[in-house]
């Protein structure tokens, strides 16, 4: 069966940024997203998820390459300066190109 190349954009950020980020993803054309709570350590100290104010989430989005560009650019401009956040993209292959 054919596989269609897509991008997986992964974002790790503060739990309280959740609504902002998911709204931006939808605006930029993501058809959906997957999200879960994580702990982490980085430049802005450790986020050990003991209470929501210090909790961390990971968001994963499958999108076509152009959308991945747009998402990362938007994160860089609007979100990186304000939230504890990392983001990266990688190559994946899916079965239904029309789904994403």
């Amino acid at each position: 069966m054919t596989r269609y190349p897509m991008k997986l954009v992964t974002i790790v950020t503060e739990a309280l940024a959740r609504d902002h980020v998911t709204r931006a993803l939808r605006e930029l054309g993501a058809s959906g997203y997957t999200l879960f709570e994580v702990e982490g350590e980085g430049a802005r100290g450790s986020r050990i998820a003991d209470i929501e104010e210090f909790a961390n989430i990971q968001i994963e989005v499958v999108v076509p390459p152009e959308a991945a560009e747009r998402i990362l650019d938007r994160l860089h401009r609007d979100f990186f300066p304000r939230y504890a956040m990392i983001a990266f993209e990688s190559d994946i292959r899916v079965l239904r190109s029309d789904k994403f």
Binding site: L16, H20, A24, E37, D50, E52, E53, F54, R82
Partner: protein, 333 residues
């Protein structure tokens, strides 16, 4: 301090609630791996808010709305007004950026439910009567200051740069302030308690009353670890905020006690009004600020409310506000 006051501080420090809190702080100091899973923390928070709201609602039903509205209105007004004078202080003396000053000011006008609950168990321990419906003051004091703080911050940002790119519009901020989970739970269970009244209380006292103080103690153990873990941030926030986090509660505590006196509350009720004014939010306010003022640095408001003001109130502040009330009421309850 007078002997009475010293005795009150001692009594408060030896309640299981205060001791469990200190034990939690100790856990982080000795680097114990003690940690409550987040769902447990959330569950305990929900329980405490429901129990206090429900009991308050039953108390309103028993006392009648006529007795509650005046002090309730006063509480809401003072809550909303507090940011109006703390903001300039934070700007002028503290040299904070406008958006940071606004966010911190909003936290100190809003309230901490757990501090309130600890104060009610303190009054219970030393046998001082208080109006059961005081939980209503807690409920109405949570939102106004958050809204005022956000408005102050937005106004400041409009004057400076276009920082609002990712920030929520005012409408969302209002919704968050009014329907955020802690405000919603408090107001909602107040209403439930009001509607189901004495009969409802009888049915559920085995859950909302019997284990209440013990559950509070357990929760404070966890909050102690949360506060303890933030002790390291004290250095980062600077001496000004350290002083602010102790002095401002004292001033607001006196203010609240006076207000309680003027609106006809009992000695215990005025103490609680003092505690509420003196306390700073660490649930509703941070969530609202992070959404609506994302340019404000959360380290400032979280550290001052969670690692300075909350521990101060839970250990020494509560008996002090009680002492102020004692003095005002002429030493007799």
């Amino acid at each position: 301090m007078t002997p009475d006051l010293l005795e009150a501080v001692r009594a408060n420090l030896l309640t299981p609630a205060a001791l469990f809190f200190l034990l939690g702080v100790l856990a982080t100091v000795v680097k114990s791996d003690l940690r409550f899973p987040e769902p447990l923390y959330v569950g305990l928070t929900i329980y405490l808010l429901c129990a206090i709201g429900f009991k308050g609602g039953v108390a309103i039903a028993e006392a009648g709305l006529g007795e509650v509205w005046l002090p309730g209105l006063a509480a809401a007004v003072v809550g909303g007004a507090i940011p109006l004078w703390t903001y300039p202080v934070l700007r002028g003396l503290g040299r904070f950026k406008p958006v940071d000053a606004a966010a911190i000011a909003g936290h100190y006008g809003s309230v901490s439910a757990v501090t309130f609950i600890a104060a009610t168990t303190f009054l219970g321990t030393i046998g001082v009567f208080y109006e059961g419906y005081a939980a209503a003051f807690l409920a109405v004091m949570e939102s106004p200051a958050i809204i005022v703080g956000i408005l102050l911050g937005k106004a400041a940002m409009d004057r400076t740069d276009g920082g609002a790119v990712v920030a929520d519009p005012i409408g969302r901020a209002l919704r968050e302030a009014l329907f955020g989970k802690s405000v919603f739970l408090l107001l909602g269970t107040l209403l439930v308690g009001f509607l189901s009244g004495t009969a409802g209380m009888q049915a559920t006292a085995g859950f909302f009353v019997t284990p209440f103080q013990g559950i509070l103690a357990l929760f404070l153990l966890e909050l102690g670890t949360v506060a303890g873990r933030r002790l390291g941030d004290l250095r980062r926030v600077g001496l000004f905020l350290l002083g602010f986090g102790v002095v401002v509660p004292l001033i607001h505590g006196a203010l609240g006690v006076g207000l309680g006196y003027l609106t006809g509350l009992s000695l215990g009720g005025a103490t609680l009004m003092g505690v509420l004014s003196a306390s700073a939010s660490y649930i509703a306010a941070p969530a609202a600020m992070r959404l609506s003022l994302p340019d404000a640095n959360p380290t400032y408001y979280l550290t001052s409310s969670l690692a300075i003001t909350f521990p101060f109130n839970i250990t020494i502040g509560i008996p002090l506000y009680y002492g102020m009330a004692l003095a005002l009421y002429g030493g007799q309850p």
